[in-house]
């Protein structure tokens, strides 16, 4: 290494210094960072932990970001947003399926695997989308680059922009792309780069609870990265960058008790508050019950409309290290019943038919509301190798036939190797009934190079998305639920006709031999002579 030589010219810079200082002055920043951690003990004893890391970048800081000076916003994220003209980005890595029936509704619920949707404000969106997927693939060590044209959709109704855009109607100027990888295995190698984006990484703040062994040992694990524009108080467009992680852990699994604490769930405690966080909230919500006692005294306790008792804590640098939260129960009784306290719609999708030639999909859409018919939007993107027959689409309901279920439909047929078939429907689900959608398809023969390495496993069909606006009384606190509620159905595994991959050479040989035989016989026919022999006498 070489130690810097030559202070010989710096004196001449002094003049600049004064000049520079004049415009610099003291640093005014309009960035803020909050951490928010919610524990909810679900009726069946499982504990849902929702981590939120919220960064709000004001117009000034955003201007700095525009010429590549990053302080709170991670550089990699900022670069991606700028390079590809991303206005809004929602990326989730999810393992396991969210159990709507038992756990109710989670704003952080997402489809299994990887789900990515983004609003662009550029022209040549397809190019930018390709670049975006590749960049994210590199950033999160995921195979996001497999999202190509053939599994990219442009929903019209289901994924509306979620940012503040002021007066302008974003759909007119922005363009949307949606893609998903249902069979992407989520694991530590995705978590690590994700945590590196956090301001305090995993060394302080609520992120210090992250223990990969426990996080991935849960029943449900979803890791989100959300970017949306916001309008901060001083007029001007800012940006909100939120990282979310929600995980459902089961304290009952080993010892049959439903007590839990941070150390029992994560084998970690919160080391200290993150120095950069202006505000760190921790909320513990349990079904209010005399048998339950909180491990540490909260700031405030309030009970919501559903007899749930939520205790609020605040962390700052003054709070003692290794604070632990949790609940102790006297009994270990859990309720495995279906929980509809906060919502009324659930959906199940499954495969129908059998055999290698054709199959079908069926979706059970249930509206549990006793009286109200509910409007939903159903979105489905089906890969091209399942040849849909739209005429087989039918909606059956137990309710009286006077209801017209499907109000409006938008269908985009697939192009082989080009784009998926996109089906989007406005539906009205009759009160307290089950509606079943049926759809049939043929299974295509695909080229043998198009089969994945595990060809005999089958192909995953990404989750269908049901979007509806939560009806007023269902959400207790409006802040954690966006106006649009989104739930996802199960992934479906479809097995296509699979060749025997040990055989291609034999097939070629056989075909060639047949052709050779044919040729040979024809050739003989042409070159043989048949002539009558006349015998006299």
């Amino acid at each position: 290494m070489v130690f810097s030589q030559g202070h010989w010219w710096w004196a001449s810079l002094l003049c600049l210094v004064w000049l520079g200082q004049a415009q610099a002055g003291v640093a005014i920043t309009d960035e803020s960072y909050n951490e928010d951690l919610r524990f909810t003990q679900l009726p069946d004893g499982k504990v849902l932990s929702e981590f939120k890391f919220i960064r709000r970048i004001g117009p000034l800081a955003l201007a700095k970001v525009r010429d590549n000076h990053y302080s709170l916003l991670p550089r990699s994220v900022g670069e991606i947003v700028q390079t590809f003209g991303v206005e809004e980005l929602h990326l989730t890595f999810t393992q396991g399926t969210w159990n709507h029936q038992k756990w109710g509704y989670s704003p952080l619920g997402a489809a299994a695997g990887v789900q990515l949707w983004s609003w662009f404000n550029t022209s040549s969106v397809d190019k930018q989308w390709k670049g975006l997927t590749h960049a994210l693939a590199g950033l999160f060590c995921a195979s996001l680059n497999q999202i190509d044209q053939s599994n990219t959709a442009q929903p019209l109704l289901s994924f509306l922009p979620e940012g503040d855009y002021g007066e302008e109607l974003p759909q007119d100027v922005l363009e949307l792309r949606y893609g998903s990888l249902p069979h992407e295995a989520v694991c530590t190698e995705n978590l690590t780069p994700w945590t590196k984006l956090l301001p305090c990484q995993t060394q302080a703040g609520i992120a210090s609870l992250f223990n990969a062994y426990r996080l991935f040992d849960g029943h449900y694990h979803s890791m989100g990265t959300h970017i949306r524009p916001i309008i901060t108080d001083d007029a001007g467009r800012g940006m909100e960058f939120v990282q979310t992680l929600s995980v459902v852990l089961n304290p009952l699994r080993l010892d049959n008790r439903k007590d839990w604490s941070l150390s029992s769930l994560f084998e970690r405690k919160i080391a200290s508050a993150c120095a950069l966080a202006s505000d760190t909230k921790v909320v513990v919500t349990v079904p209010s019950h005399p048998a339950s006692t909180l491990n540490s005294p909260p700031l405030s306790v309030l009970t919501d409309s559903h007899e749930r008792l939520s205790a609020h804590y605040n962390l700052d640098l003054s709070t003692p290290k290794d604070t632990d939260f949790g609940v102790t129960w006297e009994d270990s009784k859990v309720d495995h019943g279906v929980n509809r306290s906060r919502w009324y719609i659930d959906a199940h999708r499954y495969q129908t038919g059998y055999g290698g030639e054709r199959g079908g999909l069926a979706v059970d859409l249930r509206n549990h509301h006793p009286t109200a018919d509910l409007d939903i939007i159903y979105f489905e993107a089906i890969p091209w190798y399942l040849k849909l027959y739209l005429h087989t689409l039918r909606a059956e309901t137990a309710a009286d036939a006077s209801h017209e279920i499907i109000k409006d439909m938008y269908y985009q047929p697939a192009i082989d190797r080009g784009r998926p078939a996109v089906l989007e429907m406005k539906m009205t689900l009759p009160a307290n009934s089950t509606t079943t959608l049926h759809l049939e398809f043929d299974k295509a023969y695909i080229k043998y190079t198009e089969h994945p390495p595990d060809a005999n496993r089958g192909f995953d069909i990404g989750a269908a998305v049901i979007t509806f606006t939560a009806i007023p009384e269902s959400p207790p606190s409006p802040h954690d639920i966006p106006p649009q509620v989104r739930i996802h159905t199960e992934t479906v595994l479809v097995s296509l006709p699979t060749p025997d991959f040990s055989m291609p050479y034999n097939v070629i040989t056989l075909t060639c031999t047949l052709m050779a035989l044919y040729f040979g016989s024809v050739f003989n026919m042409l070159t043989r002579q048949y002539q009558p022999v006349i015998v006299k006498g």
């Binding site: 129908t352 069926a362 005999n456 015998v535």
Partner: protein
């Protein structure tokens, strides 16, 4: 042949004219054809004994492959097992409660409700499926209860079914089996290493319940006037990969575990599944039985070994040939689900080793772990095999030749018939001679293409049609006949009488009429071939083709039908002498279904024969087992044709 080449070579006078050269080729062709025909006519029957001998050799160890797992992901028995005495305690307590409940009530609904509440208690999505089966005996009401445990790691796209019927086929309460199902339902929720969902299914009555559940699971809906009406399912999981069916009708200590592999119509699961289950069981030290028999390590003599394995093979082929569902696993194959049934054997004469419940639990657990490891469907190993013991198999490459050899005789026979009817070439054609001092050649008469006979078509077609029509009619009438047989509680004697009457009608009335029809018309003339040759030609062709086609789907059935019918058909021809006439009729009758049934009832009593008829008929109407229609539509009519042939004009 060599003989001929030499002749042809020697026939090279220096100045043979072009014509002779040109004639040499057709001449050779004719000669070769003649000798091929001659050899086939004389020796085609040889394939039959060869096939039979080969079959008799199959029990020898040289033909057996030691079963080994081809799919690397399975790793049977390699995992650490957690099934402990605690879980065994759960099994026992559940067994008691099941027995108690079974003694209290008879209603499937209550059984199902009990199962559902238990499964719910483990945090599963459990529900009940009701179904009604309308049969001749009236409506049977049933209920399946099932629960789905979502895998912590998985995305719910794949599932494994663990099922057990509430009652085993003996009509006894399958308390231990249900106990294991419930205990495992509790057991799997304790661990997070599962990557596939589990579906715990208790069916009653089975296997009808299993059919109802499977059809509902795959989104089918019963037609308005189907015999079986069932509800749709409330919750689903992903694509079912494997299914394990448990039948433990006992009190928890057993002599061995028997594996039931062959499904509906003799369809088999992938060999890897069987091997995995067997390995897991043997790893736990459980003796695994096949068809009630555990193969010991060593035998006191090769002969006893041969007998032992021959016995198992015979049992195996018998059950595969019938192709009727022996337990719930039989119905899964249709949906490309690899399935197997584990059935506990209380006692084996001479075996005093006892299997503890924990061993069974651990065996099941490690099998489940192996299936859980799978990343793809089972596709590495065979689907076509015959099992002489639980731990070895005979691959298709070894057993298919004898099966084909048996049936191919018929094909050659029909070929011979075609030739004989068309061109009766008696002697080998002589070489063409050159006519002195002329460019022309006089060729031997056998080379002429004018000495062919025309084949009669009308009579053969009528015969075939009438016989097949008879079969179709019988199939159409069968439900009625069975209804009469079962409802007008006819005792076995009357049943036999009934069968005898039918036989009498057919053989005493129909066949003679046909033969009358042929009277004088089917005879051969100088220009027309005898009708019987054509009839036999067609019949042999049809039967041979049917049996060969069958040999890949259900080799056992193909063998079972070929062995009696092939010699009968070889013999069948019009004859003057009464002895041979009698012999042929006897052979044909023995080969006919009624003859076979008669033989069975002679050996094992009338009841079994009756039972066999009923079961095969039910198997067809309820589960779509096609033994019954195949016999009535193809096999029996052709046998009748055989009878007709015997009585036809020469």
């Amino acid at each position: 042949m060599a003989l001929f080449r030499r002749k042809a070579a020697s026939a090279q006078p220096s100045d043979t004219p072009a014509a002779v050269k040109e004639l040499r080729r057709p001449h050779m062709r004719r000669v070769v054809a003649y000798y091929v025909r001659k050899t086939l006519t004389l020796f085609s029957w040889i394939f039959y004994p060869v096939g039979v001998i080969w079959l008799l050799l199959l029990p020898r160890d040289e033909f057996h492959h030691k079963a080994s797992v081809d799919e690397n992901a399975l790793l049977p028995g390699q995992t650490t097992k957690y099934f402990s005495s605690m879980d065994m305690y759960a099994v026992n307590s559940y067994r008691l409660r099941v027995n108690q409940l079974a003694s209290q009530t008879r209603s499937p609904a209550e059984y199902a409700a009990f199962i559902q509440s238990e499964l719910n208690g483990f945090g599963m999505e459990a529900s009940i499926q009701n179904f009604v089966l309308a049969t001749n005996q009236g409506a049977t009401i049933g209920a399946n209860s099932y629960g789905i445990s979502r895998a912590a790691r998985g995305d719910g796209t794949e599932a494994i079914v663990i099922s057990s019927p509430w009652m085993d086929d003996g009509g006894k309460v399958n308390a231990d089996g249900v106990g294991y199902v419930l205990a495992f339902a509790k057991f799997v929720t304790k661990f997070s290493h599962w990557s596939k969902d589990f579906i715990f299914l208790v069916t009653h009555p089975s296997p009808m319940g299993t059919r109802a559940w499977l059809e509902a699971y795959h989104g089918e809906q019963p037609g308005p006037n189907d015999a079986l009406q069932y509800d749709p399912l409330e919750t689903h999981s992903g694509a079912i990969q494997e299914a394990l069916n448990l039948e433990f009708g006992g009190e928890g200590d057993y002599a061995a575990i028997e594996i039931l592999v062959d499904g509906l119509n003799g369809q088999l699961p992938n060999a890897d599944l069987v091997t995995t289950v067997v390995n897991c069981a043997q790893y736990e030290g459980i003796p695994v039985a096949l068809h009630q028999a555990v193969t010991p390590e060593k035998f006191d003599s090769n002969w006893t070994r041969y007998l032992h394995k021959a016995d198992i093979l015979a049992e195996y082929m018998k059950s595969q040939a019938l192709g009727l569902p022996r337990s719930d696993h039989a119905l899964y194959a249709k949906y490309h689900i690899e399935s197997i049934t584990l059935r506990a054997i209380k006692d084996i004469p001479g075996a005093q080793y006892r299997v503890s419940g924990e061993q069974i639990g651990r065996a099941i657990e490690s099998a489940l772990r192996s299936f859980n490891n799978l990343l793809e469907r089972l596709h590495h190993a065979y689907w076509f095999y015959i099992m002489p013991t639980a731990a070895s198999y005979i691959p298709i490459s070894v057993y298919i030749p004898p099966v084909i050899l048996l049936s191919v005789t018929l094909v050659f026979q029909s070929l011979v018939m075609w030739w004989m009817s068309g061109e009766p070439g008696q002697t080998a054609p002589a070489r063409s001679q050159r006519i002195k001092d002329s460019p022309y050649v006089a060729r031997s008469p056998q080379l002429s293409s004018f000495n062919t006979r025309t084949r009669p078509i009308f009579l053969p077609i009528v015969t075939m049609f009438l016989c097949h029509a008879t079969g179709a009619f019988a199939l159409y009438m069968s439900p009625t006949i069975l209804y009469i047989a079962q409802h007008g509680d006819i005792n076995p004697l009357n049943m036999a009488a009934c069968v005898l009457i039918v036989t009498a009608v057919i053989y005493g009335f129909m066949i003679p009429t046909l033969q009358r029809l042929m009277e004088g018309s089917g005879a051969s003339t100088a220009t027309t071939a005898p009708a019987w040759m054509v009839v036999k030609c067609i019949a042999c062709a049809e039967l041979g083709a049917a049996l060969i086609a069958l040999s890949t789907l259900n080799p056992s059935l193909s063998i079972a039908l070929a062995i009696p019918s092939v010699p009968a058909f070889l013999l069948a021809k019009p004859t003057g002498s009464h002895n041979s006439f009698a012999i042929q009729l006897i052979a044909l009758f023995l080969a006919s279904p009624i003859g076979i049934l008669g033989a069975i009832s002679l050996l094992t009593g009338l009841g079994t024969a009756q039972d066999l008829v009923r079961r095969s008929a039910d198997g067809w109407s309820l589960y779509g087992a096609w033994l019954f229609p195949f016999v009535l539509l193809v096999y029996w009519p052709l046998n009748l044709v055989g009878h007709v042939i015997v009585g036809m004009e020469q």
